[in-house]
Amino acid sequence: MEFNGEISDTDSGIILHSGSDSPTTHTKDVTTHTRAMKLKHRDLQDRLEICILELKKLCIREAELTGRLPDDYPLLPGEKPPQIRRRIGAAFKLDELNIPQGEEESELSLVDAELALQMKIYEAARKLCEEHHTSKAVRKSRLLQRKREEKKLKLLQERAFQLRLEHGRSSPLPAFNIAQQDLGTSDDSSLSDSVVQDEEVTSQSSQQSLGGLLCPAEPDLPQPPPEPSHSFVDGPCMSPSAAPQSALLTPSQSPRPSLESTQSLNSSPAYDLPPIQHSPWTESSLDQPYQKSKKSRSSSRTSTPTKTELLPPLEACLPPSVQLSHLRLSRAQSNSTPSTPEIRVHRQLSLRLSNPESSFDKERGRVRGPRRRLTDVTITLPETLPSAVNYGNLANSEDSNSEHSFTSYNSSPCQEFPCSSPQPAFPHSSPVGSYGPQAFPRTGFYHNPRHQSSPGFHKAYYNDEMVYPPDLDLQRSYYAQPAPSTSSRYEYRYKDAPVPHQRAQRPADIRLSPSPAQWDHPHYRSAGLPQQVVTEQLKSWHRRSQLKAPRSRSLDRQGAVRVKNMAARELNCYANQKYHGQVNQRQALQRSADDSQTHWLVDDGSHYMSQV
């Protein structure tokens, strides 16, 4: 406490501290200051004690690990150093031989170090196993432990061996690796057991304790008398790693003919010779077209050159097993008339099942123009399908698409206007008149997608979602479609599904990609509509067709589906909607045209914004 005295004597310090000149404050300051200092002192003492305790703990821990109490151990006068019980088996002295020198082979050395340690661990486990005066449970657990360590050891040995195979050819190896080195470098069939045996002999002659060391690797051999435990602590006289390794290698190697050198090198019995002969290991560049002719694909490829550009045979892009009857039907129809949307739906969906490989092969012979169209059209499909399925039933899997029947979907307006003449305003009247309810549940449609488009939904169909690149053919082909029935859907798409838009670069899911649905589109070429509108129209078709339950053929089929699948609150909302639609059905004619025009404008704007 000389501390206190010092400070209480001298005012100057206090003055300096407090910075005030008044004598009255001086005295006050002195008392408060001493008290503060005392507090500080006690605080420091406490901290010192804590630190000492911590140091003690650390020292004891160190002693546990090393077996020696470090000199730093804080001993109070009269205190005796604590007795440290060393943990059994915690200390291994690794063989110097096994610890690789040099850093040039860091990977290998890492494995080697691990291997050396693992050898010791295994050794210890084995020794523990051999103790006889233990209880059954203990022995059992030790046996288990030994097995585990043995497995680890083998793995490590294998790993080190493989590494050495790679590195070994150039770099000098320690003596104990000679066996492996020889095995690794001999690529030809001259590999024989003699190499290993020679190595065993040499290592046996050089190492006294080899007999004891062979046993750990081969637990089935008669065990030698257990060595005194201290010998396993001081390692240098102990195992060179070559001994167990060669012992490991021999059994698996000897019964085998030395035909496949690298195969037979593996010590694990799981790697048996393969039943088939391998062709030599080759590489092939992925930049050149594939040269090798595959007979399996030849059938589909032969049909390629005969294809015309407009209507190639559908069979060409399908494996013979897939839905041929279905396709023939639609093909016949499409030949007679410009295809209706219904047929298009048929095709797209059934073609989705086509074998990617065959279409891939088919494309090889084709001109680039049609193929581009093909991919473009394909791309629009996958985006709509998942959402459409979900619309009806959230639990539906995407695969269930193919189960839906699309034959009932015959109401698409495009059917009435397959012509290519641009008639923006006029054609609206007739489809809207006949399909009024379809055209008007706008808000209903608006609500539903919201309901469905949770983030989880988007994520779930991540793979299937695709964005359509600008696709002129497609856009033109649907130009003639009346707008009113779809305007609300445009809104929905832009508001609710920005995610797919941003994923423009994703490739099609392989299952979905190869549908070459473009055959019909050339018929529909015309100019002038925004691309987006048309793709949206196509999508809405799909959605509607998906929505349709097989039975519901009434005019307001969306309504029917919704009644079935939607939550009760939405049902209510829908009822209004439906009523509204029926009332408005007659007015649809007049209103739709105007509505659609404005809506289109809006949609375009939002589309371009979303792309920016």
């Binding site: 793995l155 690298t262 195969q263 590489e283 050149q288 594939y290 490989e357 891939f360 990609s513």
Partner: protein, 125 residues
Amino acid sequence: MAFTPGQPVTAVVQRIEIQKLRQGDNLILGFSIGGGIDQDPGQNPFSEDKTDKGIYVTRISAGGPADEAGLRMGDKIMQVNGWDMTMVTHDQARKRLTKKNEDVVRLLVTRKSLEDAVRQSMTRP
């Protein structure tokens, strides 16, 4: 890729997305592959385990799409666009990679340096 029979195979993988380069009629990927279950795995200079019949990247053309995407020589391809590549023939792998109607291939590759990095970070936190 140490592999014990009966144990699940684990690998540290990296996602690599290669944008194919269109050059006239064919698509350029910018790398070569070797291996496959129909080829002798013992001759594979890249594999750690000489019984590994996986698909390995044997060559990278400098400046090519694969190079830009970060693919390296010796990488083992685990998946291509979600398709398994650890148990395919050489030709199957080729086809998956060179599909003409896909402009992007997404690979899952594993390489030793990746595994080592992870192992290091696990052993020395």
